[in-house]
């Protein structure tokens, strides 16, 4: 069985038309035509007549949850989500950035998505590796079953096995490449702070120039800010023009959080984000 992208696109269009015509939502966040087939754009349909421009194919990797916070509170939004994107939506609901009742979630079960820049398949190596959306109102297509499930943390084994000197050398090399275009934080559905800590001038956490120490400060703090919140969609790494494997660090922190706090990000709207929560019985072992 493979994913029938054309069918999903048709369903997406008909759902979007219905929702817009009935006035149930003000905007539909989906994907639209880009400058060629392999480069679809995030697209916002506001009227039923916009719907014809919606597309869905294997290159529609963008996480549309990024755009939710852009609309004023109370806007009725329909959003097309894949597995990781749905977790981002849940996380945003947990953080009270959007209300569940303001959202119509159109779930898309999918695998075999491709990175538009490199053409590589996007799988559990760079993302959470799930196939089915965790939350949805309407499922566009059939749930995927029978695909082999690979732990998203398998890819970490190689790096965890490195000794700390090698790991530092690896991260130093990778983070030194950073040109501070901030595509990672802008592509991230969880990075909605304005201003971002790195843009503050008092206290000034990092310099604006792309030097090692500023880059380190920016990225480490960003990893920390996303601890227990990162839903492993891999957008940051795909957005990066200089190909820094940011997903590795995010995965590592997500894995640790899951182990320590017994909770993965964006799996249930009942949860609270791990770091703004505690249990009295949390063990001091986590500090050792």
């Amino acid at each position: 069985m493979s994913i029938n992208f054309k069918q999903i696109e048709e369903k997406l269009k008909s759902e979007a038309t219905k929702l817009l015509e009935e006035g149930k939502v003000g905007v539909v966040l989906a994907y639209g035509k880009g400058y060629d087939e392999n480069h679809p754009l995030p697209f916002v349909a506001r009227k039923a007549s916009d719907v014809e421009n919606i597309v869905f194919n294997e290159y529609c990797t963008a996480n549309m949850a990024r755009y939710i916070v852009r609309y004023p509170r109370g806007t009725k939004i329909a959003i097309a989500v894949k597995a990781a994107d749905s977790r981002a939506v849940i996380q945003l609901i947990q953080e009270d950035k959007v209300k569940r009742e303001d959202l119509v979630i159109l779930g898309i079960p999918a695998y075999g998505m491709k990175n538009a820049k490199t053409g590589e398949v996007v799988d559990s190596k760079t993302t959470c590796g799930m196939y089915n959306p965790v939350i949805y109102d309407t499922l566009l297509g059939e749930e995927v079953h029978g695909q082999s499930v690979v732990s998203p943390y398998d890819v970490l084994a190689e790096y965890e096995a490195m000794d700390k000197e090698a790991r530092w050398a690896f991260w130093k090399k990778e983070l030194d490449k950073c040109i501070r275009c901030y595509a990672c934080r802008k592509a991230c559905p969880m990075c909605y702070c304005d201003p971002c800590f790195i843009d503050q001038n008092k206290p000034k956490w990092g310099e604006k120039s792309p030097e090692s120490h500023g880059n380190l400060m920016y990225h480490l703090t960003r990893f920390h800010h996303l601890a227990g919140r990162c839903i492993d969609c891999g957008e940051c790494s795909r957005a990066c023009p200089v190909d820094i494997p940011l997903y590795l660090f995010h995965k590592k922190v997500a894995k640790d959080c899951e182990e320590m706090f017994g909770q993965a990000a964006g799996m249930s709207i009942e949860d609270k984000p791990a770091l703004v929560n505690f249990r009295v019985e949390d063990s001091d072992k986590i500090l050792e």
Partner: protein
Amino acid sequence: MDFEPKILGIACNWCTYTGADLAGTTRLQYPQNLRVVRVMCSSRINPSFIFRAFQLGADGVLVGGCHPGDCHYNTGNLYARRRLAVTRKILEFAGIEPGRFRVEWISASEGNKFAEVVTEFTEQVRNLGPQTKFKIEQLPTPEKI
């Protein structure tokens, strides 16, 4: 040459800082490598403080707070515990020796524990040697073309 580590201590106002005072008034000896910054609660500690301390040349960072359950603000240190646990993991994955960062719960009456922890931690950091990974040696002039 003997290496004298520079250690940043971040202590909560209500317990650890008072504990440090007690250690002082009871004339307990502990190494002078610790520079203490007082914060109102261990949950006030922004993880960036710790990253920044390492960047500015700290060889180790010691965080002190009230015992879980004894927080002056009821729950502050319970949040801090989770947060600092993550900080620790991040430092470790980036390649900083975990022994350079320590969180201890020290109450206002535990002057001797404060002295013990500082002594022990200083020795530990001394054995790890200077921290060079994060430290900014000077403002570099990158010839990035």
